[in-house]
């Protein structure tokens, strides 16, 4: 049951939410006070930009909105007396520096272009800029979030499923009864791992299918990337299973297992770039966050999806996961109690 919730339902709900978030594009709000001139080429150009929303109101109301971050700047265009000269006064807020930056470059561009036209140089300017966009695709939040969701479901299945599954089998003496047969303990653990593997493959494929078909998640190399992601999930599961076995071996009590599981999973869900990038963490925390096993997995997955890098770029992170898992398997082997 917990496998179903953490492995299937949560990731699907999450990617649905993230998919919807990803659809909203940046909008810059600019306030225009009544004192501003509106019969000029600059205003006309501003008005034509799709992602700029002009907000006409009185000066006082606009200043208040600026402080609250509801608008990003106040633009007041003053016509100089008698001649067709203008001064553009921009008052920027600092609640959203990124948007302020956008306002800056938009205004500067319009003004520069208008100046060229007005001085008659627009037909043959000395410097021409030629920008071509190679990618028709823009990165959306889903492209960041979906790899994190694969990691999330992987870690959940490997840990919740294994710990609670094994504790149940230990408590009900199912394992003990099987140990009265010539079965080797490793066979049992391998079987456990194999059944988790099947669940994980279904999860990963399901999340990817929903991502690709419903939310247009981008796979740089199509089917090849898809298969590489499935392969990474297998590596990820093998690494995370070590944590599951380690914790399942420590206790026979679900209530004791719960805080242990949270101690291992929660920090990873929060710090490993599952929901937001590790670069947004404080500097001192970043090196820790970047070296968690789930981080390695997330980085590896994003390398071959978002960044479109070759599969070989994931090798250092696979090695990192391998080291983590070795530590866990050794600890598990030393502490595992069957009863």
């Amino acid at each position: 049951m917990s496998t179903f919730f953490f492995g299937f339902l949560f990731p699907v709900v999450f990617i649905s939410i993230f998919g919807l978030i990803g659809n909203s594009t940046t909008v810059v709000n600019i306030g225009i006070p009544p004192t501003s001139n509106m019969q000029n080429p600059i205003y006309t150009a501003l008005n034509k930009i799709s992602f700029v929303k002009l907000n006409k109101s009185n000066q006082l109301a606009l200043e208040k909105q600026l402080k609250l971050g509801k608008i990003d700047a106040i633009v007041n265009i003053i016509k100089q007396d008698n001649v067709s000269h203008y001064t553009v006064n921009v008052l920027e807020g600092n609640t959203n520096p990124q948007n302020a930056q956008i306002v800056n470059s938009v205004i500067t561009q319009i003004v520069d272009k208008t100046n060229l036209i007005l001085t008659g140089m627009s037909n043959n300017p000395p410097v021409n800029v030629n920008i071509k966009s190679t990618s028709v695709r823009q990165l959306r939040y889903i492209d960041f979030a979906l790899p994190g969701m694969i990691g999330f479901s992987l870690l959940s299945t490997a840990i919740f499923g294994t710990v609670f599954g094994l504790i149940f089998l230990k408590k009900t003496l199912v394992i003990k009864r099987m140990f009265a047969t010539p079965m080797h303990p490793l066979i049992f653990l391998t079987a456990q791992g194999t059944s988790r593997l099947i669940v994980v493959l279904i999860q990963t494929i399901l999340i990817l299918l929903i991502g690709v078909f419903v939310f247009k998640f981008y796979l740089p190399d199509g089917m090849i990337t898809f298969l590489q992601l499935v392969l990474l999930s297998i590596f990820g599961l093998i690494a995370f299973l070590g944590f599951g076995y380690f914790m399942a071996g420590l206790t026979n009590d679900e209530n004791a297992a719960n805080p242990m599981i949270n101690l291992v999973t929660l920090p990873q869900f929060l710090l490993s770039g599952t929901f937001f990038p590790t670069s947004s963490l404080p500097n001192w925390l970043e090196p820790i966050a970047n070296n968690l096993p789930l981080s390695y997995f997330n980085i590896a997955v994003r390398n071959i999806t978002t960044s479109g890098e070759p599969f070989s770029s994931t090798l250092p992170y696979l090695l990192g996961m391998f080291v983590w898992s070795m530590v866990m398997y050794v600890l598990a082997a030393r502490t595992f109690k069957w009863e």
């Binding site: 089998l169 408590k171 009900t172 003496l173 199912v174 003990k176 009864r177 099987m178 140990f179 009265a180 047969t181 010539p182 079965m183």
Partner: protein, 256 residues
Amino acid sequence: MSKLSTNIIIVNKLTKKFGDFDAVKGISFNVKKGEIFGILGPNGAGKTTTLETIETLQKQTSGEIIIDGVDTLTNSEHVKRIIGVQLQSAGFYPELNLIELLNLFASLYGVDISPMEMLEKVELTDKAKSFPVRLSGGQRQRFSIALTLVNTPKVIFLDEPTTGLDPQARIHLWDMISKINKQGVTVVLTTHYMEEAQKLCNRVAIMESGRIVALDTPDNLIKNLLKSGFKKKIEVKQADLEDVFINLTGRQLREE
């Protein structure tokens, strides 16, 4: 009784410690091939520990156990192949029905079985597709016994097989155990019930705080007690309450 001459199990100076606690304090006994051997004793006497050590589920602190000529400590895998084990309250995979469970255990032993034949031996063919949780107490114990027979063992170990069963189910299980024993399987069982030991067991060992305090056939144990001058305080009745109960409710097996 002359047929029961060779010892299939030899237990020699067996001790088992749990930390500071001595659960089993150097016991020695033999189980003869083909007999039903009972280990009696109050809770905490060391019955289950003794049984599980013989079953190789626990390792002894010291002493030696030989089953069918094989040392359990050095060759536990071989021992596991020739014994069948029923635990006091073993669970089963809840998602598997009886046939699937029998097949699972057959694969753990690496043997081919016909699950329906196994179920027939314990009269559970009508429950073939049921899950263990849907069985009554008696049915579950019978199914546990069917599982112990999967690998056609030479010895089966039954840990309190009738605890918690109603009188009908208990009598039914005794018949079943006798039947299996008559087919040549040696049976070692633990019990709290003296009546069970008296009716079912060829020989019994009585344990008390980790030691065997008596070992003989039930008849001899009683004779020896009488010889020592023991007299029951009240006169022995020709029937007891159990007889009344069985007389009123019949021997017919009930399945709730």
